[in-house]
Structures are given as C-alpha cells and as structure tokens.
C-alpha cells in the first residue's frame, strides 16, 4: 500500500486556465472546475501497486492513450464539493414552493435505513432465498400503495414519473392488443405536464389535446366529441396542474370507458388526496405515484426518483416483469414472462426497480401511518389555501372561485402595466431568501405562478413567505410609475451566487464539457 502515489502526469501542463477570476464573496468561495485544480497526477484513494504485466494477457485491447481525468486528495475533494454545495438552495434551508414538484421535508431516518447493509449491500441477482427481506419489503410497499389508492395491483419497476407513465400506457396498449383492438390516439388536456404527450408519443400514439373550461378543468363536451373507437386512453392529472380537483372525474371515467378507452391518471399530485380519496373509487385504470413527491424520497438535484404504477384488474395481467408472488410465507420474483406473468408487456429496465427509494418510501409510510398520511393531504391543502388567501388581494389567482388543492395558482394579470414579468417577480424572490415558485406552467394560464408549500411548512414559515411576497408584490405594483422599482426587478437576483445567466448564449454556442485551454475555446474565440 502506498500513500498518495504521485505518478507520471497524464496530461501536459494544463494547470494554467482561462478560468474566471478567483474571487470570494464573503465566506462564499469562488470554486473552479475540478479540471482546473491541477490534479493531473494525484489520487485521493490509496490502492496497492499493481504488478508489472498485470494486463499483458489483453494485448492491444488495452487503452494506450490518456483518459484526461484529474484527481485530488480527500481534503481537496471534500472542500471542492462542499464549496459547490453552498451555491445551492435546498429544502433544508427554506420553503421551496415549486408547484407540481412537491418539495417536502426528507426525513433522515429514511436515509439511514436505506443504507443498512441488508438493503444497500445486496445484489439484485443473488439467490432469491438470500434476499427474502428485500422482496418482503417490496411486497409490503405494494400493499400500502394498493390500499391507499384502492387499486388491485401495482407495478414497482418504473424509475421515475415519466417511466411510470410509459409503464401505464404500455399496459394499456397490451390490453387493447390482447383483444385485437389496435387503437391510435391518446387524449391529453392542454394543461398537462410535458411528459404526458411525450410519453404517449414514445408509446407510439398520436396525441390529441382536450380543451379546458374557464374554471380550469377538463371540458367534458370536448372530451366526449374526441372520444371514439380509435382512442386508446386519456391521460388526466388529478388533482390537475392548475391545483384543482377534477370535479367531474367520475363522469370522465364513465365516458372514457364507454368508448372502450382506459383512464390513465397522472398521480404527480397524489399528495393532495392521499388518505382522503382513493383513485380506484374514481374509475382510474392506471396511475403512477412519484415516490419522490408524495412519499418524500429526496429529489437529489434531479433524481433518482421512482414511479410505481397502480393498475386496475383489467390492466393488471399486463404489468411488466418482475412480479412479486408469495407462496406460504416465501417471496419470489417472477423475472420472465411465465406463469401468472405470461401476459406481461415486457421489461422496463434491468433488475427490479428503485430499491433504495422503496426503502425510504416505506419508512415514510410507516412513520406517518394511515392517520398521518391523511393529515399530510389535509395540511398540504390547508397550507396552499392559506397562501392563496394571504396573497389574493394583491396577486390575481388564476381560478379565484372555490378552494384549491395542494397548490395555489396565480396568473400575471395583476402585473399588467407594471413592466414586471412573472420571471422578474420570481427572480426577485431569490433576493428575499426563497426559491421561486414554478413559473409559466401550466401553459394554459398566462404568466403562471404555481405555489406548492407542502405540508411540512410551519405556519411561521408560511407567514414569513407570505410577508415577503406581499412586500415584493407591493413593490412590483409600484413599478408602474417608479422606474427604480422596475429596475430592481429587472436586475434580480443580486444577492445570489450569480446574477441571471445567459441561456441564449448557452444554447446558441453549446459548450457541454470542459476542454483544456490548449484547444480552441469556442466562447473565448468569439
């Protein structure tokens, strides 16, 4: 074992960089890229020396050119990534009101349990007799998901919400095909999340939009006129992306079924109704559940997620492998199309799904219990309505009549004549210490501002948030005849690690990796 072996530099002198000026702002350090820290011959992992000729059996299969990877000692590496971490906003720092994303508290117990060697250090293909506890956990998670949704079956494999949508649509396609009934179209409301039409197209369907009523819901007349013998499914989010419950959901299901189509429900907003209403009682045939939303597995800066799909009895036979079966207390994974899984539509990925997320979600469910989960939905809805009530005299709610569910949606009508846009307003929130709300989504509402506080915010934090937004809103309204006030919004944010970034430049001259300064730099050359 040798400590910090210094080998031959794998790259010529590349330590001098065109990196930006090294300038700290208070305690917030400037931090270069890992490639600019000079670590071309260092390593932070001590490994034994390999004997000479260790790979002489591989002949010309062996790499002869440098890879181009820097390495650093452990203290340097830690400092680099901790410094970077400090340039991020996070739920643990403040309210993170991204509508449709459900940024709620991530319990650390769940992190601890997912790291138990009995879950973290087991291989997906070791003998099933040696992983009975893991399969049992998957089975118990499945039981909770089925009970909470009132659905008879669940497919655990999908790795994220969009993957779950695909799972649902492929089950629907298989069910139609099993009857020799090839159908071509999928109906999706204009307010849907982009993954819905993208998934329908991915699954080989033609996408057609369903209109929305002025009160933010599916237009039943339009739906009825577009349903027909070639419609395979409708994809409706409920509660929908406007934060409203589809009041006519039972009728939507009836019309859909009458046309021989299936009802796919996007369950991204299940957090609003968990424990209060079961989708199975509404006529839903398939619905994905984002474990990283409703059941609080961490978003991790963009994943990993998990998107199990609950299925009706009509679709259950087509669920993808693997299936879980239990026989006399023994659990078994059916990994091929055989036995009860003979009609499975196929495989969505290698192995069995996002086990690490299953452990966290199951721990979350056990912690809350049936009573706590019902309270989750009630508090999430209460918090959103409270924010709406506190802001609606200054800002314009997109759908002022009646309660919202777990998110409050405002449009930009109230900003008319101020020169301040939704983007400006959202960026100004950063200077007030909050992450912006979801902007310009759903597309059906002009200048949309979608606020989802979630149930894990205290009243004190909501009051702080509402007070900040009220100050900002008052300032925005004053921008009508105060150019200085307007300038402040246009310049925001000024107190973040960086000011607004030039996204047009990034797209026009894509620079997608670091290149050594010896090579021509596209940006510098301009």
């Amino acid at each position: 074992m040798s400590m910090q072996t210094v080998g031959r530099p794998t790259r010529p002198e590349t330590t001098s960089q065109t990196a930006p000026e090294d300038r700290a702002v208070g305690l917030l350090q400037y931090e270069p890229l890992i490639f600019e820290l000079g670590g071309w011959s260092k390593t932070g992992v001590d490994l034994p020396d390999a004997a000479p000729g260790a790979a002489d059996d591989l002949g010309d299969l062996v790499r002869t050119t440098p890879i181009g990877l820097p390495g650093l000692s452990e203290p340097e590496t830690l400092r680099h990534y901790v410094r970077l971490s400090q340039k991020n906003h996070a739920i643990d720092l403040a309210l993170y009101p991204l509508g449709s994303c459900t940024m709620k508290h991530n319990p650390r117990l769940n992190e601890k349990l997912a790291r138990l060697p009995g879950f973290g250090d087991i291989h997906p293909l070791q003998p099933q007799s040696s992983v009975q506890g893991a399969i049992a956990l998957m089975d118990r998670l499945a039981h909770w998901l089925k009970t909470l949704t009132g659905m008879p079956a669940v497919a655990l494999p999908p790795k994220a919400g969009a993957h779950g949508e695909l799972c649902g649509l492929l089950a629907i396609r298989a069910a139609h095909e099993a009857r020799g009934d090839a159908r071509k179209r999928v109906l999706v409301p204009t307010s849907a999340h982009g993954t819905n039409p993208a998934t329908a197209a991915f699954a080989g369907y033609v996408v057609e939009e369903i209109a929305q009523t002025t009160d933010g819901r599916v237009d039943l007349a339009d739906l009825e006129s577009k349903l027909g013998p070639d419609v395979a499914a409708i994809m409706v989010t409920n509660p929908n992306t406007c934060g409203l419950f589809e009041r006519d959901v039972i009728e939507i299901a009836r019309l859909t079924h009458a046309a021989g189509a299936y009802f796919y429900c996007d369950g991204a907003n299940f957090n609003a109704i968990v424990g209060k209403v079961r989708p199975g009682d509404l006529g839903v045939d398939a619905m994905h559940i984002n474990l990283h939303k409703t059941f609080s597995t961490p978003h991790g800066g963009g994943g990993p997620g998990a998107g199990p799909v609950v299925l009706s009895a009509a679709l259950a036979p087509f669920a993808p492998q693997p299936w879980i079966v239990s026989e006399g207390g023994d659990y078994r994974l059916i990994e091929a199309r055989e036995g009860p899984a003979a009609q499975a539509f196929g495989r969505l990925s290698a192995f069995h799904g996002q086990m690490g997320m299953f452990v966290r979600a199951y721990a979350y469910m056990l912690s809350h219990g049936s009573d706590g989960l019902r309270q989750v939905a009630e508090d999430a809805v209460l918090n959103a309505n409270y924010v709406k009530a506190r802001l609606q005299d200054l800002m314009s709610p997109a759908f002022p009549d009646g309660p919202c569910m777990h998110e409050a949606l405002f449009d930009d009508a109230w900003l008319e004549g101020t020169g301040v846009t939704t983007l400006d307003f959202a960026k100004a929130m950063i200077d007030e210490g909050f992450h912006p709300m979801t902007m310009y989504f759903p597309l059906v509402v002009h200048g949309a501002m979608l606020i989802e506080p979630t149930e894990t915010e205290s009243k004190a934090e909501l009051d702080r948030f509402c007070a900040a937004l009220r100050r900002l809103a008052t300032d925005a309204l004053s921008a009508k005849d105060d150019t200085e006030a307007l300038e402040r919004f246009k310049a925001a944010p000024v107190s973040a690690p960086l000011r607004r970034l030039d996204e047009t430049l990034a797209a026009r001259k894509p620079r997608l990796k670091w290149t050594p300064p010896a090579a021509p730099l596209p940006l510098a050359a301009e």
Binding site: V62, H123, P304, R347, S370, K427, R500, A506, P510
Partner: protein, 454 residues
C-alpha cells in the same frame, strides 16, 4: 406526528383566514361518494424506534454481499466506495434540492453536472455526454430509438453478448416505435457474428464490451462495417471501472456509448437506483435524450452553468421531444463524480488493473476445479464458466454454505439453453482467500464422491 409542523391551533386559525368552516370544506370538489370517512385500513403512525425496528428486521433477512465470499456481477458490481462520497451526497444542499431550473441558486448542482459530463465524455472517448439516464439498460433502449431517428431506419441488431435484461428493455421500448429488434444468438464470442447481420435497413448495431459473459472485444471492425452500411454503432458497457484499462468506445469508433455507471460511487442497492451514462459524437447532440448542462455567463460576465438545448426535451417540445425522460439520476451522478474525482486517472487505472488481476487469479483457480470449464478468453473482471451441473442448483447449494458464488446465466436468459453456465465477477473487494474458499466449496459441490460442501 413529527414531520408535520402545524398545531391544532394553527389549523383553526388558518381555516379562519381562509374563511372555511372546516378542513372538509377545502375538499368540497372531490366527489362526496368517494370521500373517505376516516383513515384507510393500515397501521397508525409510529415513532422512529418502531419504524427502525421493522426495517432492520427485514434487512436482517437478507444475506449481504459483505458477509462472506461474493462473486455476483452480471451488470451490478460491488466496489469500495470511499466514505467521503456518501458524506457529500448527504449534504442537504445536494440531497434536498430540485432539478436546477433556477441556475442562479443551483450552481452547485450545475457545476457538478458539467464535471460529470466532462468525466463521462473522457471515459467513453466521446465528444459529449448528457447529465445521466435512469440506468444503463434504459440508456441502451434510448440509444436504439435515437439511432432510428438519426438514420430514419427501423432495424436494430443486438449482439448476443448484450446483457439479456438490456436486450429485453430495448425490445419492450423500441417495438412500440416500430423498430424491429434482431437479437443474435447468445454466446461468449457473440460480437464475432454481428458484422454478418448488418444490412442496408440497419439503423444501429448494439454491442457490449466487456460483454455479459465477460468477454472483451475490440469492436473497431464492427464500427467500420456499420458505418459502411450507414448504420450507427452503439457500444454498451455495464462495468464502468473497465474504462480505466480498456480501449474506450470512442477510440473504437462508437457513435453512441452507453454504460451503467453504478460501479463508480454507487452501491449495489438490490438493483437501483443506478446511473446511466450516455455519450455521443458531436454531430448527434441535438438528437440526444435527457438533460444537458452547458457553460455560459451571467449578467456580470462571470462563468456559470445552465441546463441547455432543452428544445429537445418534453417540457418544451411535448409530443415531439427526443424522449419523455424528466427526472434522471442526479444524486447518483454526483456520487459518480465525487468518486471519480477522488480516484483521478491514476486511481482509476490502478483500480482497473487490480480488478483485472483478481480475475486472472480467479480464472487460474477455477481451472483447477475438476469439471469446470472457463469459457471467457479475454476478460476484465468477470468470467463465464460451464459447470458439469445446473448452475442454479450449484449457486443455491453454495449459498447454503454462505458463499454467493455468482449469477446463473439462465437467471437472466432462461430461454438460451445455457443452464450450466455461471457468471462470476471479482473486484478489489474480493479477498484472495475468498477465491480459494469458493473453489474448494465448488469442488465439493461438483464431486459426487465427497458430496459435502466445505
């Protein structure tokens, strides 16, 4: 309930501000007939202690890889992950942040993604890498669909050396897009048969190296044949540590390189979450699936990073998007990048060599077990062997004596008629003594006269 901050007084006061009589008034849009009157039939809430007790009980019913001799691979590998990697990914600012759509307050995540993309491009020898896929298998399926879009052709040839789960995932997703999948016969030297299967309708050829049997192949000739026919070459790797020793996909002419990145920074986790690596030639960038992070400047001219080229993606292009992927594997990509930054080129090369040496030792030892035939001739850290008995039975018998001896090939490809083939992988975590224990036990299992398992 420890995760819910509102008190009963808060709730009453807030309902007052809203002007609602009670909480049910806020649920008035839900159909009365479907409104549950009380909690569903599941246990009530529990404290940390009780929850931990139940889950620890389940965990205890699993035999961990670290508890004894362990030789499972076949697409998931047990490597040592430095303690600091797990510390970094549990930082609140990384763990509890969202997709970096607000770049001013997400430069931490964005710079990590930029570093990740640079590292993946370097490892694969490709021009551009994306910010991750769910895993290697879904990346493989996406690569085939991408190749079909690029070439406007609808036939994909999959090598018989491609991991059967990858082949099945690809078939499941690609067939609804009208792509005809031709999977060649599974065999150790499967890549040799690929060139003959390329024709004028072929959109892409998918090869894996090291392949599912552990066999390493220089696919340069396949690249030439594919390109001559106007097809793309997709090179799949399930063991990312092998990049430290072997020629990269880019060096061998790949158009798309796909890999499972779990080996670097991520534990076994019973199969997920993992992290898919996806890299392409520069000219294919605009047909790529998934998120891309790019460099730009802020209003004061300072360097910064943003998600870019999003007109490929579902939130802009909807049904015309290159993929439906949204959430990817951000935190697993962070783990990959931190581990990679600790290793550096020096460490990765050394790690790869150690893995290979272990496999050479394993091969020699297995050749000494009567009745065992080593099938893989050019390998990195994984071998396929033929046993004189059903591999599943051998694995179960050895598991009963505390040895997780590998993956029976029939487990992942039951139709192939290779019930006697066992896949075994070793890494830097495999003590030499465990190789000896495995071979002694295997000798006992295979020889009817002793019958006993050591």
């Amino acid at each position: 309930m420890r995760y819910l901050p509102l008190t009963a007084d808060d709730r009453a006061e807030m309902l007052g501000v809203i002007g609602a009589a009670d909480i049910d008034a806020l649920f008035s849009d839900t159909p009365a007939s479907a409104r549950l009157k009380g909690p569903v039939e599941l246990p009530r809430h529990q404290g940390e202690l009780e929850v931990e007790r139940e889950l620890a009980g389940l965990a205890a019913r699993n035999r961990t890889a670290g508890s004894g001799p362990f030789f499972c691979g076949a697409g998931a590998y047990r490597h040592h992950v430095p303690a600091s990697v797990d510390h970094i990914i549990q930082r609140s600012e990384f763990l509890t942040s969202y997709t970096p759509y607000q770049p001013e307050i997400a430069q931490g995540t964005l710079q990590v993604l930029f570093e990740f993309q640079t590292q993946v491009a370097a490892l694969t020898g490709m021009d551009v890498a994306n910010a991750s896929m769910y895993d290697g298998s879904t990346g493989c399926a996406e690569a085939v669909m991408m190749a079909s879009r690029v070439t406007r052709r609808t036939r994909a040839v999959l090598s018989g050396g491609l991991h059967p789960h990858y082949a099945e995932t690809t078939r499941t997703l690609a067939q609804v897009a009208g792509i005809q999948i031709e999977r060649l016969t599974a065999t150790v030297d499967a890549e040799a048969a690929v060139i003959a299967a390329i024709d004028a309708d072929t959109a892409c050829v998918v090869v894996q190296t090291p392949n599912v049997f552990g066999q390493v192949t220089d696919v340069s000739a396949i690249a030439e044949a594919a390109h001559a026919a106007g097809a793309l070459l997709i090179v799949v790797t399930t063991e990312a540590v092998s990049y430290g020793l072997l020629k990269s996909p880019g060096e061998m002419g790949a158009d798309i390189a796909v890999a499972e990145g779990q080996s670097i920074g991520n534990g076994l986790n019973f199969g997920g979450p993992y992290v898919g690596l996806f890299a392409v030639r520069e000219k294919l960038v605009r047909q790529m699936p998934g998120r891309l992070c790019g460099e730009t400047v802020d209003a004061e001219g300072r360097r910064g990073f943003v998600l870019t080229l999003s007109t490929r993606e579902q939130h802009i292009r909807r049904d015309k998007a290159t993929s439906n992927i949204c959430t990817n594997s951000g935190l697993c990509a962070l783990a990959f990048t931190v581990h990679m930054s600790l290793l550096g080129e020096e460490g990765l090369r050394r790690l790869a060599l150690i893995n290979h040496l272990k496999a050479r030792r394993l091969k020699t030892a297995l050749q000494g077990v009567p009745g065992v035939q080593v099938l893989t001739s050019r390998f990195f850290n994984e071998l396929a062997v033929r046993l004189p008995m059903n591999a599943d039975d051998a694995v179960e018998a050895l598991a009963a004596s505390g040895i997780l001896s590998g993956v029976p090939y029939s487990r992942i490809d039951p139709q192939a008629g290779m019930d006697d083939v066992l896949l075994l992988a070793v890494t830097e975590t495999t003590p030499d003594g465990d190789i000896d224990r495995l071979c002694a036990a295997l000798t006992g299992t295979l020889s009817p006269e002793t019958g006993a398992v050591s």
